[in-house]
Amino acid sequence: MVFFVVPLGFLGYQSLESGNIDFGYAFNWAWGNYWHALRDYRAQFVRSIEYAGIATLLALIISYPVAYWIAFRGGRWKNLLLLFIVAPFFVTYLIRTLAWETILSDNGFVVNTLQSLHVLGPGGRLLATSTAVVTGITYNFLPFMALPLYVSLEQIDGRMIEAAEDLYASKFQAFLRVTLPLSLPGVVAGTLLTFIPAAGDFINAQLLGGPENHMIGNVIQSKFLELTDYPAAAAMSFLLMAGILVAVAAYARVVGTEQLTGTAV
Protein backbone atom coordinates (compact mmCIF):
# COMPACT_ATOMS: atom_id res chain seq x y z
CA MET A 1 0.00 0.00 0.00
CA VAL A 2 2.82 2.27 0.99
CA PHE A 3 4.33 1.36 -2.30
CA PHE A 4 1.51 2.75 -4.32
CA VAL A 5 -0.43 5.47 -2.54
CA VAL A 6 2.54 7.43 -1.20
CA PRO A 7 4.24 7.78 -4.59
CA LEU A 8 0.91 8.76 -6.10
CA GLY A 9 0.53 11.42 -3.44
CA PHE A 10 3.91 12.83 -4.32
CA LEU A 11 2.93 12.80 -7.97
CA GLY A 12 -0.16 14.83 -7.14
CA TYR A 13 1.88 17.25 -5.02
CA GLN A 14 4.44 17.68 -7.75
CA SER A 15 1.77 18.30 -10.34
CA LEU A 16 0.69 21.45 -8.49
CA GLU A 17 4.15 22.92 -8.17
CA SER A 18 5.78 25.46 -10.38
CA GLY A 19 9.37 26.33 -11.10
CA ASN A 20 12.17 24.51 -12.87
CA ILE A 21 15.02 22.17 -12.11
CA ASP A 22 17.66 24.87 -11.72
CA PHE A 23 15.81 27.13 -9.31
CA GLY A 24 13.82 24.49 -7.52
CA TYR A 25 10.10 23.96 -7.28
CA ALA A 26 7.58 25.64 -5.05
CA PHE A 27 4.19 24.29 -4.16
CA ASN A 28 1.55 26.87 -4.97
CA TRP A 29 -1.55 25.07 -6.18
CA ALA A 30 -0.50 25.62 -9.78
CA TRP A 31 -3.62 24.28 -11.43
CA GLY A 32 -2.31 25.98 -14.53
CA ASN A 33 -0.15 22.90 -15.13
CA TYR A 34 -3.28 20.93 -15.86
CA TRP A 35 -4.75 23.65 -18.00
CA HIS A 36 -1.54 24.00 -20.03
CA ALA A 37 -1.22 20.25 -20.45
CA LEU A 38 -4.74 20.02 -21.83
CA ARG A 39 -4.30 23.01 -24.07
CA ASP A 40 -0.93 22.07 -25.52
CA TYR A 41 -1.23 18.32 -25.79
CA ARG A 42 -4.87 17.71 -26.59
CA ALA A 43 -3.90 16.01 -29.83
CA GLN A 44 -1.70 13.50 -28.03
CA PHE A 45 -4.37 12.78 -25.44
CA VAL A 46 -7.00 12.19 -28.09
CA ARG A 47 -4.57 10.08 -30.11
CA SER A 48 -3.76 7.88 -27.10
CA ILE A 49 -7.42 7.13 -26.46
CA GLU A 50 -8.02 6.64 -30.18
CA TYR A 51 -5.09 4.26 -30.79
CA ALA A 52 -5.77 2.32 -27.61
CA GLY A 53 -9.46 2.08 -28.47
CA ILE A 54 -8.86 0.82 -32.00
CA ALA A 55 -6.20 -1.63 -30.83
CA THR A 56 -8.51 -2.97 -28.12
CA LEU A 57 -11.35 -3.47 -30.59
CA LEU A 58 -9.02 -5.18 -33.06
CA ALA A 59 -7.61 -7.41 -30.34
CA LEU A 60 -11.14 -8.39 -29.32
CA ILE A 61 -12.20 -9.23 -32.88
CA ILE A 62 -8.99 -11.09 -33.63
CA SER A 63 -8.78 -13.16 -30.49
CA TYR A 64 -12.42 -14.00 -29.75
CA PRO A 65 -12.71 -16.77 -32.37
CA VAL A 66 -9.43 -18.29 -31.23
CA ALA A 67 -10.40 -18.19 -27.55
CA TYR A 68 -13.67 -19.85 -28.60
CA TRP A 69 -11.85 -22.49 -30.58
CA ILE A 70 -9.49 -23.36 -27.75
CA ALA A 71 -12.25 -23.37 -25.13
CA PHE A 72 -14.65 -25.61 -27.06
CA ARG A 73 -12.45 -27.62 -29.40
CA GLY A 74 -9.08 -27.51 -27.70
CA GLY A 75 -9.55 -30.86 -25.97
CA ARG A 76 -6.41 -32.01 -24.28
CA TRP A 77 -4.27 -29.55 -26.21
CA LYS A 78 -5.81 -26.64 -24.35
CA ASN A 79 -2.87 -25.98 -22.07
CA LEU A 80 -0.38 -26.20 -24.89
CA LEU A 81 -2.39 -23.78 -27.05
CA LEU A 82 -2.65 -21.36 -24.15
CA LEU A 83 1.10 -21.56 -23.82
CA PHE A 84 1.36 -20.45 -27.45
CA ILE A 85 -0.90 -17.49 -26.70
CA VAL A 86 1.39 -16.23 -23.96
CA ALA A 87 4.55 -17.13 -25.90
CA PRO A 88 5.12 -13.52 -27.04
CA PHE A 89 5.49 -12.55 -23.39
CA PHE A 90 8.63 -14.67 -23.20
CA VAL A 91 10.36 -12.36 -25.62
CA THR A 92 11.38 -9.03 -24.15
CA TYR A 93 8.77 -6.40 -24.93
CA LEU A 94 11.21 -4.10 -26.69
CA ILE A 95 12.65 -6.90 -28.80
CA ARG A 96 9.17 -7.93 -29.87
CA THR A 97 8.47 -4.39 -30.97
CA LEU A 98 11.79 -4.20 -32.78
CA ALA A 99 10.78 -7.37 -34.62
CA TRP A 100 7.72 -5.52 -35.87
CA GLU A 101 10.02 -2.77 -37.01
CA THR A 102 11.80 -5.39 -39.10
CA ILE A 103 8.54 -6.83 -40.43
CA LEU A 104 7.12 -3.46 -41.41
CA SER A 105 10.40 -2.00 -42.62
CA ASP A 106 10.54 -0.19 -45.93
CA ASN A 107 11.98 -3.00 -48.01
CA GLY A 108 10.32 -5.71 -46.00
CA PHE A 109 8.02 -8.41 -47.25
CA VAL A 110 4.82 -6.74 -46.06
CA VAL A 111 5.51 -3.38 -47.68
CA ASN A 112 6.61 -5.01 -50.93
CA THR A 113 3.46 -7.15 -51.08
CA LEU A 114 1.19 -4.21 -50.38
CA GLN A 115 3.01 -2.19 -53.03
CA SER A 116 2.61 -4.90 -55.65
CA LEU A 117 -1.10 -5.05 -54.78
CA HIS A 118 -1.22 -1.27 -55.19
CA VAL A 119 -2.57 -0.85 -51.70
CA LEU A 120 0.47 1.25 -51.02
CA GLY A 121 1.99 3.64 -53.50
CA PRO A 122 5.52 3.00 -54.80
CA GLY A 123 7.01 5.35 -52.17
CA GLY A 124 4.50 4.29 -49.54
CA ARG A 125 5.67 2.98 -46.21
CA LEU A 126 4.23 1.51 -43.07
CA LEU A 127 6.79 2.59 -40.51
CA ALA A 128 6.10 5.99 -39.01
CA THR A 129 2.37 5.68 -39.71
CA SER A 130 -0.52 5.27 -37.33
CA THR A 131 -1.14 1.84 -38.90
CA ALA A 132 2.23 0.63 -37.67
CA VAL A 133 1.66 1.96 -34.16
CA VAL A 134 -1.79 0.40 -33.88
CA THR A 135 -0.43 -2.88 -35.28
CA GLY A 136 2.27 -2.93 -32.64
CA ILE A 137 -0.07 -2.09 -29.78
CA THR A 138 -2.60 -4.67 -30.91
CA TYR A 139 0.03 -7.36 -31.08
CA ASN A 140 1.75 -6.54 -27.81
CA PHE A 141 -1.40 -6.58 -25.72
CA LEU A 142 -3.21 -9.40 -27.50
CA PRO A 143 -2.63 -12.02 -24.77
CA PHE A 144 -4.26 -9.68 -22.23
CA MET A 145 -7.40 -9.94 -24.34
CA ALA A 146 -7.24 -13.58 -25.34
CA LEU A 147 -6.70 -15.06 -21.87
CA PRO A 148 -9.71 -13.54 -20.05
CA LEU A 149 -11.85 -14.37 -23.08
CA TYR A 150 -10.70 -17.96 -22.92
CA VAL A 151 -11.33 -18.20 -19.16
CA SER A 152 -14.91 -16.99 -19.45
CA LEU A 153 -15.66 -19.13 -22.51
CA GLU A 154 -14.12 -22.16 -20.82
CA GLN A 155 -16.52 -21.85 -17.90
CA ILE A 156 -19.60 -22.00 -20.08
CA ASP A 157 -21.50 -25.22 -19.60
CA GLY A 158 -21.72 -26.88 -23.01
CA ARG A 159 -25.16 -28.24 -22.08
CA MET A 160 -26.57 -24.70 -22.10
CA ILE A 161 -25.72 -24.38 -25.76
CA GLU A 162 -27.11 -27.83 -26.47
CA ALA A 163 -30.29 -26.86 -24.64
CA ALA A 164 -30.61 -23.76 -26.80
CA GLU A 165 -30.20 -25.87 -29.90
CA ASP A 166 -32.72 -28.39 -28.63
CA LEU A 167 -35.12 -25.51 -28.31
CA TYR A 168 -34.68 -24.89 -32.01
CA ALA A 169 -32.19 -22.08 -31.88
CA SER A 170 -29.93 -22.05 -34.88
CA LYS A 171 -26.21 -22.28 -34.19
CA PHE A 172 -25.91 -18.58 -34.79
CA GLN A 173 -28.82 -17.76 -32.50
CA ALA A 174 -27.45 -20.02 -29.79
CA PHE A 175 -24.15 -18.21 -30.02
CA LEU A 176 -25.77 -14.78 -29.96
CA ARG A 177 -28.23 -15.49 -27.16
CA VAL A 178 -26.28 -17.92 -24.97
CA THR A 179 -22.54 -18.05 -25.59
CA LEU A 180 -21.91 -14.38 -26.19
CA PRO A 181 -23.76 -13.05 -23.12
CA LEU A 182 -22.12 -15.67 -20.92
CA SER A 183 -18.69 -14.68 -22.16
CA LEU A 184 -19.30 -11.00 -21.49
CA PRO A 185 -17.31 -10.91 -18.23
CA GLY A 186 -14.29 -12.05 -20.20
CA VAL A 187 -14.91 -9.40 -22.84
CA VAL A 188 -15.07 -6.73 -20.14
CA ALA A 189 -11.94 -7.93 -18.33
CA GLY A 190 -10.02 -8.32 -21.58
CA THR A 191 -11.03 -4.90 -22.83
CA LEU A 192 -9.87 -3.22 -19.63
CA LEU A 193 -6.64 -5.18 -19.42
CA THR A 194 -5.83 -4.23 -23.00
CA PHE A 195 -7.05 -0.66 -23.06
CA ILE A 196 -5.43 0.61 -19.87
CA PRO A 197 -1.81 -0.31 -20.62
CA ALA A 198 -2.31 0.55 -24.30
CA ALA A 199 -3.41 4.12 -23.51
CA GLY A 200 -0.28 4.74 -21.48
CA ASP A 201 2.12 3.08 -23.89
CA PHE A 202 4.87 5.04 -25.58
CA ILE A 203 7.18 2.32 -26.83
CA ASN A 204 5.20 1.39 -29.92
CA ALA A 205 4.73 5.03 -30.87
CA GLN A 206 8.43 5.64 -30.34
CA LEU A 207 9.77 2.67 -32.27
CA LEU A 208 7.13 2.18 -34.94
CA GLY A 209 5.68 5.66 -35.36
CA GLY A 210 6.93 9.08 -36.29
CA PRO A 211 6.65 12.30 -34.28
CA GLU A 212 3.13 12.85 -35.61
CA ASN A 213 2.09 9.53 -34.06
CA HIS A 214 3.29 10.35 -30.58
CA MET A 215 0.95 9.50 -27.78
CA ILE A 216 0.64 11.14 -24.38
CA GLY A 217 3.07 8.58 -22.95
CA ASN A 218 5.79 9.95 -25.20
CA VAL A 219 5.14 13.46 -23.95
CA ILE A 220 5.16 12.42 -20.29
CA GLN A 221 8.34 10.43 -20.83
CA SER A 222 10.22 13.26 -22.51
CA LYS A 223 8.97 15.91 -20.06
CA PHE A 224 10.12 13.80 -17.14
CA LEU A 225 13.39 12.43 -18.40
CA GLU A 226 14.61 14.82 -21.06
CA LEU A 227 13.14 18.23 -20.29
CA THR A 228 12.89 17.67 -16.51
CA ASP A 229 9.68 19.66 -16.45
CA TYR A 230 8.40 17.59 -13.56
CA PRO A 231 5.24 19.52 -12.62
CA ALA A 232 3.91 19.48 -16.17
CA ALA A 233 4.74 15.80 -16.57
CA ALA A 234 3.11 14.94 -13.25
CA ALA A 235 -0.02 16.86 -14.22
CA MET A 236 -0.17 14.94 -17.49
CA SER A 237 0.21 11.61 -15.71
CA PHE A 238 -2.79 12.52 -13.59
CA LEU A 239 -4.75 13.59 -16.61
CA LEU A 240 -3.93 10.28 -18.28
CA MET A 241 -5.23 8.40 -15.27
CA ALA A 242 -8.31 10.59 -15.15
CA GLY A 243 -8.90 10.06 -18.86
CA ILE A 244 -8.67 6.32 -18.43
CA LEU A 245 -11.01 6.42 -15.44
CA VAL A 246 -13.55 8.39 -17.46
CA ALA A 247 -13.26 5.95 -20.35
CA VAL A 248 -13.65 2.99 -18.00
CA ALA A 249 -16.61 4.63 -16.26
CA ALA A 250 -18.31 5.32 -19.57
CA TYR A 251 -17.68 1.74 -20.57
CA ALA A 252 -19.06 0.56 -17.23
CA ARG A 253 -22.29 2.43 -17.88
CA VAL A 254 -22.69 0.66 -21.18
CA VAL A 255 -21.99 -2.88 -20.01
CA GLY A 256 -23.24 -2.56 -16.44
CA THR A 257 -21.31 -1.92 -13.25
CA GLU A 258 -21.93 -5.36 -11.87
CA GLN A 259 -19.88 -7.03 -14.52
CA LEU A 260 -17.07 -4.58 -14.08
CA THR A 261 -16.68 -5.06 -10.36
CA GLY A 262 -17.38 -8.75 -10.74
CA THR A 263 -14.24 -9.10 -12.80
CA ALA A 264 -12.26 -6.54 -10.88
CA VAL A 265 -12.23 -8.12 -7.44
Binding site: Q14, Y93, R96, F202, I244
Partner: protein, 281 residues
Protein backbone atom coordinates in the same frame (compact mmCIF):
# COMPACT_ATOMS: atom_id res chain seq x y z
CA UNK B 1 -19.90 -33.14 -27.12
CA UNK B 2 -21.21 -29.68 -27.52
CA UNK B 3 -22.60 -29.55 -30.99
CA UNK B 4 -24.18 -32.60 -32.55
CA UNK B 5 -25.40 -35.03 -29.93
CA UNK B 6 -28.99 -33.98 -29.56
CA UNK B 7 -31.94 -36.28 -30.06
CA UNK B 8 -35.17 -35.41 -31.85
CA UNK B 9 -33.52 -32.88 -34.08
CA UNK B 10 -34.72 -32.04 -37.49
CA UNK B 11 -32.94 -34.18 -39.94
CA UNK B 12 -29.69 -32.72 -41.11
CA UNK B 13 -29.39 -32.45 -44.81
CA UNK B 14 -26.12 -33.36 -46.42
CA UNK B 15 -25.59 -29.73 -47.28
CA UNK B 16 -25.97 -28.62 -43.68
CA UNK B 17 -23.49 -31.23 -42.55
CA UNK B 18 -20.98 -30.08 -45.13
CA UNK B 19 -21.52 -26.47 -44.14
CA UNK B 20 -21.08 -27.27 -40.49
CA UNK B 21 -17.91 -29.17 -41.31
CA UNK B 22 -16.53 -26.25 -43.32
CA UNK B 23 -17.47 -23.86 -40.59
CA UNK B 24 -15.72 -25.92 -38.01
CA UNK B 25 -12.65 -26.18 -40.17
CA UNK B 26 -12.79 -22.46 -40.86
CA UNK B 27 -12.43 -21.77 -37.17
CA UNK B 28 -9.45 -24.12 -36.98
CA UNK B 29 -7.85 -22.57 -40.05
CA UNK B 30 -8.43 -19.11 -38.65
CA UNK B 31 -6.85 -20.14 -35.36
CA UNK B 32 -3.80 -21.48 -37.16
CA UNK B 33 -3.45 -18.15 -38.97
CA UNK B 34 -3.79 -16.43 -35.62
CA UNK B 35 -0.96 -18.46 -34.15
CA UNK B 36 1.17 -17.79 -37.20
CA UNK B 37 0.60 -14.07 -36.66
CA UNK B 38 1.34 -14.40 -32.97
CA UNK B 39 4.56 -16.32 -33.49
CA UNK B 40 5.83 -14.46 -36.57
CA UNK B 41 7.72 -11.73 -34.65
CA UNK B 42 9.27 -14.38 -32.41
CA UNK B 43 10.46 -16.26 -35.48
CA UNK B 44 11.93 -13.01 -36.80
CA UNK B 45 13.78 -12.46 -33.54
CA UNK B 46 15.24 -15.96 -33.64
CA UNK B 47 16.15 -15.90 -37.34
CA UNK B 48 17.82 -12.52 -37.11
CA UNK B 49 19.93 -13.68 -34.20
CA UNK B 50 21.81 -15.66 -36.86
CA UNK B 51 22.02 -12.77 -39.26
CA UNK B 52 25.32 -11.41 -40.44
CA UNK B 53 24.53 -7.70 -40.90
CA UNK B 54 26.93 -5.69 -43.02
CA UNK B 55 25.93 -2.27 -41.75
CA UNK B 56 24.77 -1.38 -38.29
CA UNK B 57 21.13 -2.13 -39.04
CA UNK B 58 19.93 -5.64 -38.41
CA UNK B 59 16.82 -5.28 -40.60
CA UNK B 60 17.52 -7.21 -43.77
CA UNK B 61 18.82 -10.72 -44.09
CA UNK B 62 22.46 -10.79 -45.18
CA UNK B 63 23.76 -14.24 -44.41
CA UNK B 64 23.98 -16.95 -41.82
CA UNK B 65 26.53 -16.90 -39.03
CA UNK B 66 27.10 -18.42 -35.60
CA UNK B 67 29.23 -15.45 -34.55
CA UNK B 68 26.49 -13.57 -32.72
CA UNK B 69 25.95 -16.58 -30.50
CA UNK B 70 29.64 -17.25 -30.04
CA UNK B 71 30.34 -13.61 -29.16
CA UNK B 72 27.09 -12.92 -27.36
CA UNK B 73 28.76 -10.35 -25.13
CA UNK B 74 30.71 -8.80 -27.98
CA UNK B 75 28.86 -5.52 -27.61
CA UNK B 76 30.10 -3.18 -24.90
CA UNK B 77 27.73 -2.95 -21.95
CA UNK B 78 25.54 -5.92 -22.80
CA UNK B 79 27.07 -8.28 -20.25
CA UNK B 80 26.77 -5.89 -17.30
CA UNK B 81 23.21 -5.07 -18.35
CA UNK B 82 22.24 -8.74 -18.31
CA UNK B 83 23.93 -9.30 -14.95
CA UNK B 84 22.10 -6.34 -13.45
CA UNK B 85 18.77 -7.54 -14.85
CA UNK B 86 19.30 -11.01 -13.39
CA UNK B 87 20.30 -9.63 -9.98
CA UNK B 88 17.31 -7.33 -9.80
CA UNK B 89 14.89 -9.99 -11.01
CA UNK B 90 16.19 -12.54 -8.52
CA UNK B 91 16.07 -10.31 -5.44
CA UNK B 92 12.84 -8.55 -6.44
CA UNK B 93 10.97 -11.79 -7.12
CA UNK B 94 12.10 -13.35 -3.82
CA UNK B 95 11.18 -10.32 -1.72
CA UNK B 96 7.94 -9.61 -3.57
CA UNK B 97 6.80 -13.21 -3.32
CA UNK B 98 7.56 -13.42 0.39
CA UNK B 99 5.71 -10.17 1.10
CA UNK B 100 2.94 -11.04 -1.35
CA UNK B 101 2.35 -14.42 0.28
CA UNK B 102 2.04 -12.80 3.70
CA UNK B 103 -0.36 -10.17 2.40
CA UNK B 104 -2.44 -12.84 0.66
CA UNK B 105 -2.61 -14.91 3.86
CA UNK B 106 -3.65 -11.87 5.86
CA UNK B 107 -6.27 -10.90 3.29
CA UNK B 108 -7.89 -14.31 3.09
CA UNK B 109 -7.54 -15.41 6.71
CA UNK B 110 -8.12 -12.40 8.86
CA UNK B 111 -10.96 -9.93 8.83
CA UNK B 112 -9.12 -6.78 9.77
CA UNK B 113 -10.17 -3.18 9.37
CA UNK B 114 -9.39 -1.80 5.97
CA UNK B 115 -9.41 -5.21 4.33
CA UNK B 116 -11.66 -4.07 1.51
CA UNK B 117 -9.46 -1.05 0.93
CA UNK B 118 -6.39 -3.25 0.88
CA UNK B 119 -8.03 -5.47 -1.73
CA UNK B 120 -8.62 -2.47 -3.95
CA UNK B 121 -5.12 -1.13 -3.34
CA UNK B 122 -3.64 -4.43 -4.45
CA UNK B 123 -5.67 -4.25 -7.61
CA UNK B 124 -4.88 -0.63 -8.42
CA UNK B 125 -1.27 -1.06 -9.58
CA UNK B 126 -2.46 -3.79 -11.92
CA UNK B 127 -4.95 -1.40 -13.47
CA UNK B 128 -2.76 1.67 -13.74
CA UNK B 129 -0.64 2.40 -16.80
CA UNK B 130 2.98 1.56 -16.12
CA UNK B 131 4.05 5.04 -17.04
CA UNK B 132 2.03 6.50 -14.17
CA UNK B 133 3.56 4.00 -11.74
CA UNK B 134 7.03 4.84 -12.98
CA UNK B 135 6.38 8.57 -12.87
CA UNK B 136 4.95 8.53 -9.36
CA UNK B 137 7.91 6.56 -8.02
CA UNK B 138 10.24 8.97 -9.78
CA UNK B 139 8.66 11.96 -8.05
CA UNK B 140 8.79 10.13 -4.72
CA UNK B 141 12.50 9.40 -5.05
CA UNK B 142 13.16 12.90 -6.30
CA UNK B 143 11.41 14.46 -3.33
CA UNK B 144 13.25 12.23 -0.89
CA UNK B 145 16.53 13.06 -2.60
CA UNK B 146 17.34 9.40 -3.13
CA UNK B 147 20.22 8.65 -5.48
CA UNK B 148 18.93 6.70 -8.45
CA UNK B 149 20.56 3.36 -9.10
CA UNK B 150 20.37 -0.27 -8.03
CA UNK B 151 18.17 0.33 -4.99
CA UNK B 152 15.61 2.52 -6.70
CA UNK B 153 15.24 -0.05 -9.48
CA UNK B 154 14.91 -2.82 -6.92
CA UNK B 155 12.27 -1.00 -4.87
CA UNK B 156 10.32 -0.18 -8.02
CA UNK B 157 10.38 -3.80 -9.15
CA UNK B 158 9.33 -5.12 -5.76
CA UNK B 159 6.47 -2.64 -5.84
CA UNK B 160 4.88 -3.77 -9.06
CA UNK B 161 5.66 -7.45 -8.46
CA UNK B 162 3.89 -7.60 -5.09
CA UNK B 163 0.46 -7.15 -6.66
CA UNK B 164 1.02 -10.05 -9.02
CA UNK B 165 2.31 -12.24 -6.19
CA UNK B 166 -0.69 -11.43 -3.98
CA UNK B 167 -3.19 -12.16 -6.74
CA UNK B 168 -1.52 -15.47 -7.62
CA UNK B 169 -1.27 -16.78 -4.06
CA UNK B 170 -4.73 -15.50 -3.13
CA UNK B 171 -6.32 -17.47 -5.95
CA UNK B 172 -4.93 -20.65 -4.42
CA UNK B 173 -5.88 -19.74 -0.85
CA UNK B 174 -9.50 -19.05 -1.72
CA UNK B 175 -10.03 -22.67 -2.72
CA UNK B 176 -8.17 -23.94 0.35
CA UNK B 177 -9.80 -26.47 2.68
CA UNK B 178 -9.32 -25.09 6.20
CA UNK B 179 -10.40 -28.41 7.74
CA UNK B 180 -6.95 -29.76 6.90
CA UNK B 181 -5.37 -27.21 9.20
CA UNK B 182 -7.91 -27.85 11.91
CA UNK B 183 -7.17 -31.56 11.66
CA UNK B 184 -3.45 -30.89 12.12
CA UNK B 185 -4.16 -28.75 15.18
CA UNK B 186 -6.46 -31.44 16.61
CA UNK B 187 -3.59 -33.87 16.24
CA UNK B 188 -1.46 -31.65 18.46
CA UNK B 189 0.46 -29.54 15.99
CA UNK B 190 1.04 -25.95 17.01
CA UNK B 191 0.37 -23.05 14.67
CA UNK B 192 3.87 -22.88 13.24
CA UNK B 193 4.03 -26.65 12.66
CA UNK B 194 0.66 -26.56 10.99
CA UNK B 195 1.81 -23.78 8.72
CA UNK B 196 5.03 -25.57 7.91
CA UNK B 197 3.65 -29.06 7.39
CA UNK B 198 0.17 -28.38 6.00
CA UNK B 199 -0.37 -24.86 4.71
CA UNK B 200 2.96 -24.27 3.05
CA UNK B 201 3.12 -27.51 1.03
CA UNK B 202 -0.43 -26.93 -0.17
CA UNK B 203 0.18 -23.39 -1.40
CA UNK B 204 3.71 -24.15 -2.61
CA UNK B 205 2.67 -24.41 -6.28
CA UNK B 206 1.13 -20.94 -6.09
CA UNK B 207 4.23 -19.54 -4.41
CA UNK B 208 6.42 -21.04 -7.09
CA UNK B 209 4.12 -19.65 -9.79
CA UNK B 210 4.27 -16.21 -8.16
CA UNK B 211 8.05 -16.41 -8.00
CA UNK B 212 8.35 -17.29 -11.68
CA UNK B 213 5.80 -14.67 -12.69
CA UNK B 214 7.60 -11.96 -10.72
CA UNK B 215 10.94 -12.97 -12.16
CA UNK B 216 9.56 -12.87 -15.70
CA UNK B 217 7.87 -9.51 -15.23
CA UNK B 218 10.89 -7.99 -13.55
CA UNK B 219 13.40 -9.08 -16.16
CA UNK B 220 11.16 -7.80 -18.94
CA UNK B 221 10.22 -4.48 -17.39
CA UNK B 222 11.19 -1.39 -19.27
CA UNK B 223 8.91 1.53 -18.47
CA UNK B 224 9.12 1.65 -14.67
CA UNK B 225 12.85 0.89 -14.78
CA UNK B 226 13.43 3.60 -17.34
CA UNK B 227 11.99 6.18 -14.97
CA UNK B 228 13.91 5.04 -11.91
CA UNK B 229 17.25 3.72 -13.08
CA UNK B 230 19.47 6.80 -12.98
CA UNK B 231 22.58 5.83 -14.87
CA UNK B 232 22.21 2.07 -14.33
CA UNK B 233 21.37 0.00 -17.39
CA UNK B 234 19.28 -3.17 -17.28
CA UNK B 235 18.91 -5.36 -20.35
CA UNK B 236 15.66 -3.77 -21.61
CA UNK B 237 17.25 -0.35 -21.15
CA UNK B 238 20.25 -1.55 -23.11
CA UNK B 239 17.93 -2.62 -25.94
CA UNK B 240 16.21 0.76 -25.86
CA UNK B 241 19.53 2.58 -26.11
CA UNK B 242 20.76 0.26 -28.82
CA UNK B 243 17.54 0.61 -30.82
CA UNK B 244 18.20 4.29 -31.38
CA UNK B 245 21.37 3.60 -33.33
CA UNK B 246 20.40 0.17 -34.68
CA UNK B 247 20.21 -2.83 -32.36
CA UNK B 248 23.05 -5.34 -32.79
CA UNK B 249 22.16 -9.00 -33.45
CA UNK B 250 23.41 -9.88 -29.96
CA UNK B 251 20.18 -8.33 -28.67
CA UNK B 252 18.32 -10.99 -30.64
CA UNK B 253 20.61 -13.66 -29.25
CA UNK B 254 19.77 -12.73 -25.66
CA UNK B 255 16.09 -12.32 -26.55
CA UNK B 256 16.08 -15.81 -28.07
CA UNK B 257 17.92 -17.26 -25.07
CA UNK B 258 15.40 -15.77 -22.62
CA UNK B 259 12.56 -17.02 -24.80
CA UNK B 260 13.93 -20.57 -24.96
CA UNK B 261 14.55 -20.76 -21.21
CA UNK B 262 11.09 -19.40 -20.35
CA UNK B 263 9.39 -21.61 -22.93
CA UNK B 264 11.19 -24.72 -21.69
CA UNK B 265 10.17 -23.99 -18.10
CA UNK B 266 6.54 -23.42 -19.08
CA UNK B 267 6.47 -26.41 -21.41
CA UNK B 268 7.80 -28.66 -18.65
CA UNK B 269 5.11 -27.29 -16.36
CA UNK B 270 2.34 -27.92 -18.88
CA UNK B 271 3.58 -31.44 -19.61
CA UNK B 272 3.81 -32.29 -15.91
CA UNK B 273 0.27 -31.02 -15.39
CA UNK B 274 -1.04 -33.00 -18.34
CA UNK B 275 0.77 -36.10 -17.10
CA UNK B 276 -0.57 -35.66 -13.58
CA UNK B 277 -4.15 -35.15 -14.64
CA UNK B 278 -3.85 -38.25 -16.81
CA UNK B 279 -2.58 -40.20 -13.80
CA UNK B 280 -5.51 -38.97 -11.75
CA UNK B 281 -8.12 -40.22 -14.20
Amino acid sequence: MSSVAAPARRERTVLATVLAFVRRKALAVYSLLFFAYLLLPIAIVIVFSFNHPTGKFNYTWQGFTWDNWRYWDGVPGIRSAIVLSLEIALVASLVATALGTMIALALVRYGFRGRGTTNILIFLPLSTPEIVLGASLLTLFLNLNVIFGFWTILIAHIMFCISFAVVTVKARLVGFDRHLEEAAMDLGANEWMTFQKVTLPLIAPAILAALLLCFAISIDDFVVTYFNSGSKVTFPLFVWGAARVGAPPQVNVIGTAIFVVALTAMLANVLIQTYRSKGAE
